[in-house]
């Protein structure tokens, strides 16, 4: 081993805490690259492979009822590649071991794999249309109930109790993310998708020779717009409600949303860590080289070339980078696997493995080495430039300037003056330290604000808006008489009817497909809130639209908007917007029942009712629902809220833990290194103070003052950053599916600061112990 390498080894041993601290920051960058990119790739590659192999539809259309003979005309539409004409109907689950009624979707399947949306057979065999009641069941539901091929369970199909036999456990590209009505997160226990031979399905629903749903695949390169006109024209006589593309399909839209967030994370988080580690490398290396000026001069004097010496320091940089990369690989892999496991619990793919291909590591490694080298460049160029003669001269005292007038400095103690001037002497370094610390604060706010946001959402959605215990949806809209039968169900204390109809809201070239739902003027169970979070009065005419809809269609209250009634032959009417309201779930648009009935013009009708239930009679209620024909689906808000809470709290907890760890690492890395460098630069001054009769705490106080000033500056900056991050998270989540409210409690700012200040204090105190142990005699005897 060469003498220089031996020196390198000793430097590494001596500086190991600092090196580790930097490596950890770098490791966060590496880990987040691997985590975000790896998870993104896993999800997107798995999704496209699944979509491809199992022929996920590119477009969907719903209708009332049409004859199967439409297949030919549909296939004739230029651009259509294949089509599947299906019967899709909701049903009520009545399964042993679950007292609540669940809701399911039954989809008809041909005798062999369908042309579109094929099923992945996890186990069992294809249901035989010759045998009564055989079905394939979506894996998530089967797992939640421990169902195996051969098991039987009962459902209420079209109001008729059926005992079904599970022959296959399957996955479908259409239901990767399977979420039931009224749920905010998937609850596989209460939501089922069953695939039933078309003959059996037709028999139950009186749909022989007919279908009510289309899934189709377009030829590559064909745009949906070219096809949908022709398709809509064909379906219109049959109650077609318009063609939608994948982006409006629930499962696909959720996956898209997730992928978008991962991409945003990959673009934002790793660069922050790499920037910080570059700064730390720069700071530590610059100091090390300053300390070793004379040695460098000597080495040059005895004939070592600049390149050899530059390479020596580059190697030290590489040690930091390699250490960071290794730790980052490890954690990135662990986190990536964890994330993928989490995904696997929400998204059902035949297989979802963490895609940790070599190139991912190569990319992460290359970025990190580049960041480290970029950080070291200035310091190393300084080494190359140093001439031996200059290097051997004793360094001049560092030049300071008086930034403040005498009038000001008179009022500041000399010790504080030392601290302030030292900070101002290297403003960029001070700024970077404060910035790094503020990033930690910001990161914590970003993580912790989700608690506030979710708590707020739970309060507004669960306790102030959707106050019903359950919502029943009738299989078909019915006259007002249907309400009294719902009221008679046991345990129903209050029932508020609603009507819901599928429409396209259109304004100029902007359009959105959504449902208008009615709310009675005296409604108590469901009360939309205005933007000030007050209960809105339902206007006698006009629409209440959610902020998201207002933004998408550029509408404000008083505007006119065109409503295309999809359930009623696409008739178009113009309606005014009465008010814009707050809503976090879906694309909410409301109207008074009278106004909606007038708009549609077929007299009073109800689609379902929101119910307040007597908890004591829940079992009877559940039992009765399972026995009531005419109920198409049921959402149990109380149950789904509880489930939402549990799931989201678990997720937030995981996320927060990761973020807290990242913030702790940043704070420690930045503050510890800065404090060490400050100490190294000022050991002599602090020793002088001790000689002059200042106590240990007064001497270390100078160092701590600097750190305290930087940490203090970092807090408001961090609050600002955190607020900005949180805002972009809110914006990033915003989709047609849901929004999260932008709410940050003061306590969140306080908690974030508290965590960072605590870690900073610990880091600074570790360094303070070194001040206490300063060997006065030795420090003062050395030249620098």
């Amino acid at each position: 081993m060469s003498a220089l390498d031996r020196k390198l080894r000793r430097d590494v041993c001596r500086l190991w805490v600092q090196i580790t601290a930097i490596s950890l920051v770098m490791a966060c960058g590496v880990a987040t690259i691997i985590l975000a990119l790896g998870a993104y790739r896993s999800l997107s590659e798995t999704r496209s492979a699944f979509y491809d192999r199992y022929r996920f539809a590119t477009a969907f259309a719903g209708l009332n009822r049409a004859p199967l003979s439409l297949r030919e005309p549909i296939l004739q539409i230029p651009g259509v590649r294949s089509v599947e004409l299906r019967i899709v109907k909701p049903f009520i689950i009545d399964i042993e071991g679950m007292s609540e009624p669940g809701t399911g979707i039954a989809v008809s399947i041909p005798d062999t794999q369908p042309a579109v949306n094929r099923l992945y057979l996890r186990s069992g065999r294809w249901p035989d249309s010759g045998r009564a009641g055989e079905v394939a069941v979506l894996e998530s539901f089967a797992l939640a109930h421990g169902l195996q091929p051969g098991d039987r369970f009962s459902v209420l199909l079209n109001g008729k109790r059926q005992t079904l036999t599970l022959t296959a456990i399957v996955l479908s590209p259409e239901y990767v993310y399977a979420i039931g009505p009224g749920d905010m997160v998937p609850d596989p226990r209460r939501f089922a998708v069953i695939f039933m031979p078309r003959s059996a399905m037709a028999a139950v629903h009186d749909m022989e020779g007919a279908f009510n749903d289309i899934a189709l695949r377009l030829q590559p390169g064909v745009l949906l717009n070219d096809v949908s006109m022709a398709l809509d024209a064909i379906l219109k006589p049959y109650g077609g409600t318009g063609t939608i593309d994948r982006s409006q399909q629930t499962s696909h839209a959720f996956l898209d949303n997730e992928l978008m967030q991962l991409r945003a994370m990959a673009a934002v988080v790793p660069p922050i860590f790499l920037l910080l580690s570059a700064f730390l490398v720069n700071m530590v290396l610059t100091r090390l080289i300053a300390l070793e000026r004379e040695q460098i001069g000597l080495m040059k004097a005895v004939g070592y070339g600049s390149i050899a010496i530059g390479w020596h320091f580059t190697k030290l940089t590489l040690v930091i980078a390699v250490l960071g990369i290794l730790i980052g690989f490890l954690f990135g892999n662990v986190l990536g696997r964890g994330m993928t496991r989490l995904y696997a619990s929400f998204y059902s793919f035949p297989f979802l493995v963490f895609s940790d291909s070599m190139d991912l590591y190569a990319v992460a490694g290359a970025f990190s080495v580049s960041a480290a080298l970029a950080g070291s460049v200035r310091a190393i160029v300084g080494v190359l430039r140093l001439t031996p003669a200059v290097a051997m001269l004793p360094p001049q005292p560092v030049g300071y300037r008086s930034f403040l007038g005498r009038g000001v400095t008179r009022h500041i103690s000399q010790l504080n003056l030392m601290a302030i001037r030292h900070l101002l002497r290297w403003p960029l370094r001070a700024a970077m330290t404060a910035f790094g610390t503020s990033l930690a604060v910001g990161l914590l706010i970003t993580a912790l604000f989700t608690y506030d946001s979710v708590a707020f959402m739970i309060d507004t959605v669960f306790f102030r808006t959707e106050r019903q215990d359950a919502t029943v949806m009738l299989s078909e809209a019915a006259g007002p008489g249907a309400l009294s039968s719902l009221r008679r169900l046991p345990g129903v204390m209050r029932a508020e009817p609603y009507r819901s109809t599928l429409v396209v809201l259109r304004r100029d070239h902007r359009a959105r497909r959504l449902s208008i739902t009615s709310i009675a003027v005296n409604a108590d169970l469901f009360r939309p809130l205005d933007k000030k979070m007050n209960v809105t009065i339902i206007p006698p005419v006009g629409l209440l639209i959610s902020e998201r809809v207002a933004a998408l269609l550029e509408l404000k209250s008083g505007d006119m908007v065109e409503v295309e009634l999809l359930d009623f032959g696409g008739r178009r009417v113009s309606v005014s917007v009465s008010a814009v309201i707050e809503s976090y779930v879906g694309l909410a648009v409301f109207m008074s029942p009278e106004a909606l009935d007038r708009l549609i013009g077929d007299g009073p009708r109800i689609s379902g009712a929101r119910l307040a239930l007597d908890v004591a009679q829940l079992p009877q209620f559940y039992h009765a629902v399972k026995a009531t024909p005419g109920i198409g689906a049921i959402a149990l808000q109380r149950v789904s809220h509880a489930h939402f809470r549990e799931t989201i709290e678990n997720n937030i907890f995981i996320m927060t833990s990761v973020y807290v760890a990242l913030a702790v690492i940043i704070t420690f890395g930045v503050v510890y290194n800065t404090a060490r460098i400050h100490l190294s630069e000022r050991a002599r001054e602090l020793a002088s103070l001790r000689v002059l009769g200042f106590s240990r705490s007064e001497a270390s106080g100078v160092l701590l003052t600097e750190i305290i000033v930087l940490i203090a500056i970092a807090q408001p900056v961090g609050w600002l950053l955190g607020t900005g991050f949180a805002w972009s998270v809110v914006r990033g989540f915003e989709s047609d599916l849901f929004r999260i409210p932008f709410v940050i409690e003061r306590a969140t700012y306080a908690k974030s600061s508290l965590i960072v200040v605590t870690v900073a204090a610990i880091s600074a105190l570790i360094v303070r112990r070194r001040v206490d142990r300063l060997d006065l005699v030795r420090v003062l005897k050395t030249r620098e």
């Binding site: 560092v398 103690s413 000399q414 000689v691 002059l692 106590s695 005699v777 003062l780």
Partner: protein, 260 residues
């Protein structure tokens, strides 16, 4: 009991103290060491830096400490100045047993009674000349004005300069001003002229002599330069951690008269 005799100092302010001679009444020693010993342990090698040294500094005198490098001079001053702890033996400042002092008391002792001057000045680069002095006057009991302290070393014009803007000699004089500003009883100077050329060195020594004359401060100066012995009242020579020789000058020469 070993009670080294102190000659009365010749300096101005101190001349009021009872004059004495070898035969007459002994002056009260201000700082005294008794069998002061320092052993450095590094690994399994023990280095005896100081071996049972007995010595007393008297009020108002100037003592020059000579000796080859490594003979224990700095170790001795550091021990009696409360910068380091003895392995055995005792050091007294008046009635204060330095060797029994807590860290806190030693700090207090340095703050109130001792002024240090080192070879490498040890100024605070972020404080101006007057602020460097004020650093000490802010915490001292009966300090002089920083401007006055700087005037005593001939630096009344450079109060607002930072160390980087001062020459080596000027920096060292700021260090002296900083040391005297608290009116210490004793000043311990470890090679104060070591990093300076002879002309600048003379200016610095003259500043020290003036302090001694005007304030009656006891001054100990370590030097490599044997010629400087002539400015002292007493000259102590260290060798191998012991005092090998001790001499008294009948007459002190002013620094500029010393040939270097």
């Amino acid at each position: 009991m070993i009670e080294p005799l102190c000659r009365a100092a010749q300096g101005g302010a101190a001349s009021s103290s009872p004059s004495g001679s070898r035969e007459g009444g002994a002056a009260q020693p201000i700082l005294r060491a008794e069998r002061l010993t320092k052993i450095y342990r590094s690994g399994d090698v023990d280095v005896a830096a100081l071996r049972a040294v007995d010595f007393s500094f008297c009020r108002g005198e100037i003592v020059v400490l000579l000796g080859p490098s490594g003979s224990g001079k700095s170790t001795f001053l550091n021990l009696v100045g409360g910068l380091d702890r003895a392995s055995s033996g005792k050091a007294w400042f008046g009635n204060l047993d330095l060797t029994a002092c807590s860290e806190r008391k030693l700090t207090r002792f340095r703050r109130d009674h001792v002024g240090f001057v080192f070879q490498f000045y040890n100024l605070i680069p972020s404080l101006t000349a007057s602020e460097n002095v004020a650093l000490v006057t802010d915490i001292a009991k009966d300090p002089m004005d920083p401007a006055e302290a700087l005037a005593r070393v001939g630096l009344n014009e450079r109060l607002d300069h930072f160390p980087a803007q001062l020459s080596g000699g000027e920096q060292q004089r700021v260090a002296i001003a900083r040391a005297i500003a608290k009116r210490p009883e004793i000043m311990l100077c470890d090679e104060p002229t070591g990093a300076l050329d002879s002309r600048t060195g003379i200016v610095v020594l003259e500043a020290l002599i003036r302090v001694n004359a005007e304030l009656g401060t006891t001054i100990a100066i370590i030097t490599h330069n044997a010629a400087i012995r002539q400015i002292a009242d007493r000259v102590v020579t260290f060798r191998d951690g012991r005092i090998a020789e001790e001499a008294t000058n009948t007459q002190r020469l002013p620094p500029h008269a010393v040939s270097w």
